[in-house]
């Protein structure tokens, strides 16, 4: 069954959707959308470095994404607004990454594959990395769920409950770096944030509790991956963007329903 590239692609898409759903909810609740975007852009530098050093792309992307996220966290509140810092670091990392890739003579690499993903070329090894990464992310978030939620609601409340919001923030940052790294193959660095945010946002109008929102987001994400791949196969469209398009249509539809019933 895993010999079929469509089956492998679908499994890869669903795996990423599962990791992205609960994490995406926190990204939306904490207004970190731009943070996710920036981490993904920075991952391009990681791709370039891992090609140059001949280490795994996953490791390189995680390392750079994490380094960027930690740098931003450290620099935040020292004279520049968060979005300015993110903009500077993310786009610089992306630019340096693209320039660095051009120096790598001898290896012909398809840059588009990293910018937009190449889900149809997912190998068994990639599947292992994606599902391994997704399992780690889901486990981390499930383990810290109540603490993360408390810290998201109010930092002082978290401190008063004996939690350290900085540690919870670090767990989210780490999860984000892993998710970005495993999703590069699936949707590429330019569309990862879409996979984080759109299913979570689409789930909002259907959910009454945070847990329900995460589960519904996972379902919407998986549905988008399956339907998007099917559509890409039928209409010969690029796979990663097609997945995001389906998610966007689901978001639009659910939002309209939500407004009509007056819940959103």
């Amino acid at each position: 069954m895993l010999d079929d590239f469509m089956v492998r692609a679908t499994l890869a898409g669903v795996g990423v959707a599962f990791a992205a759903a609960p994490l995406g909810c926190f990204v939306v609740w904490r207004r970190m959308a731009y943070f996710g975007d920036a981490t993904a852009h920075a991952a391009m530098l990681g791709v370039a470095l891992s090609l140059a050093l001949q280490i795994s792309i996953f490791a390189g992307a995680v390392a750079v994404a994490l380094a960027m996220a930690l740098t931003v966290t450290l620099l935040a509140g020292r004279g520049y607004a968060m979005d300015t810092l993110l903009g500077v670091l993310a786009h610089s990392a992306l630019a340096f990454g693209l320039v660095a890739v051009s120096f790598l003579s001898g290896i012909r690499i398809d840059l588009m594959a990293y910018l937009f993903g190449d889900i149809l070329a997912v190998s068994r090894g990639d599947l292992l990395v994606i599902w391994g990464g997704a399992t780690v992310v889901v486990a981390l978030i499930a383990w810290r769920w109540a603490a993360l939620l408390t810290a998201t609601l109010n930092e002082e409340l978290a401190y008063a409950s004996g939690l350290d919001p900085r540690r919870e923030q670090l767990i989210l940052t780490l999860s984000l770096a892993i998710t970005v790294a495993v999703a590069i193959k699936v949707v590429g660095v330019l569309l990862i944030a879409a996979l984080l945010i759109i299913p979570a946002a689409a789930a909002r109008s259907l959910a009454r509790t945070p847990e329900a929102m995460a589960v519904i987001a996972a379902v919407i994400g998986a549905l988008s991956a399956i339907t998007g791949l099917r559509a890409a196969y039928l209409f010969d469209t690029p796979a990663g963007p097609s997945i995001v398009c389906v998610a966007a249509v689901l978001f639009a539809g659910l939002s309209l329903l939500g407004w009509r019933s007056g819940k959103a």
Partner: protein, 253 residues
């Protein structure tokens, strides 16, 4: 022993000194209110007590295994975060539905548990925060400007609720407030803060203290008239620690 004792506490942010040499203790069952202008370090003091700000010197001692309930200043729940009152109440470690419902009743909002947090009125919202703090039968309740955003009748009702809570549970209450008139009637002890403790004592003593008058003026409304009485001392003298009490220090908030 005291539930909480703050010993010679100073808190600094970079070069800015938010609090210096503050001494304060709270005994079981008493209601202590901290008043002070913007930037006087009230919030820094609270942060040091709950552990979100590091003291630069001095100590905060809590009675061993003290059960603390905390009501934050303002809780902004992002509209994208769906959460029912019941779920919010039971966010912390293993709280049963029954326990959550009892706390809501004690806080005066028995019927909201199925509602979304975002649909509550300001007064209901603050009571839910109070209810959450009451879970686990705290010995000390910390309230940080808990009535911000409520209108006058709303905050008066909220303070009556606080007094009722104290009466029923006997827990001590330490709160920060802007609402001088209400606070004055509800507290056992008032601490007037402006970087350090300017004056403290019973509401009547504080209301007539020259340091307090220097900070808040004498025209703070009719409610204070209750405490106005004849003094034999001069309000306009320079007190020995000659710094400017009326200057505001915004950065400390």
């Amino acid at each position: 022993m005291s539930l909480l004792s703050v010993e010679d506490l100073s808190v600094t942010y970079g070069a800015h000194r938010a609090l210096h040499n503050v001494n304060l203790s709270v005994e079981p069952g008493e209601i202590v209110t901290i008043v002070g202008p913007n930037g006087s370090g009230k919030t820094s003091l609270f942060k040091a007590i709950i552990g979100s700000a590091e003291p630069s010197s001095g100590k905060v001692r809590l009675k061993p295994n003290l059960r603390v309930g905390y009501v934050p200043q303002r809780l902004h729940i992002d509209p994208t975060l769906p959460i029912t009152v019941d779920r919010f109440m039971r966010l912390a470690a293993r709280v049963g539905r029954g326990e959550a419902a009892r706390a809501l009743e004690a806080a005066g909002v028995p019927d909201v548990s199925g509602q979304q947090m975002s649909q509550l009125s300001g007064g209901q919202f603050q009571r839910v925060l109070l209810a959450r703090a009451l879970i686990g039968a705290p010995e000390l309740l910390l309230l940080d400007e808990a009535t911000q955003g409520l209108d006058q009748p709303g905050s008066a009702a909220f303070y009556r609720q606080i007094e009722a809570v104290r009466r029923e549970t006997g827990c001590a209450i330490l709160m920060i407030s802007h609402e001088l008139h209400v606070v004055m009637s509800a507290s056992d002890r008032v601490v007037c803060l402006n970087g350090h403790i300017c004056c403290e004592g019973t509401p009547a003593v504080v209301a007539s203290a020259p340091e307090y008058r220097a900070l808040f003026g004498t025209g703070t409304g009719g409610a204070l008239a209750l405490y106005r009485h004849d003094h034999d001392h001069d309000h306009d003298h320079d007190h020995e620690h000659g710094h400017d009490h009326t200057g505001s220090r915004e950065a400390a908030e």
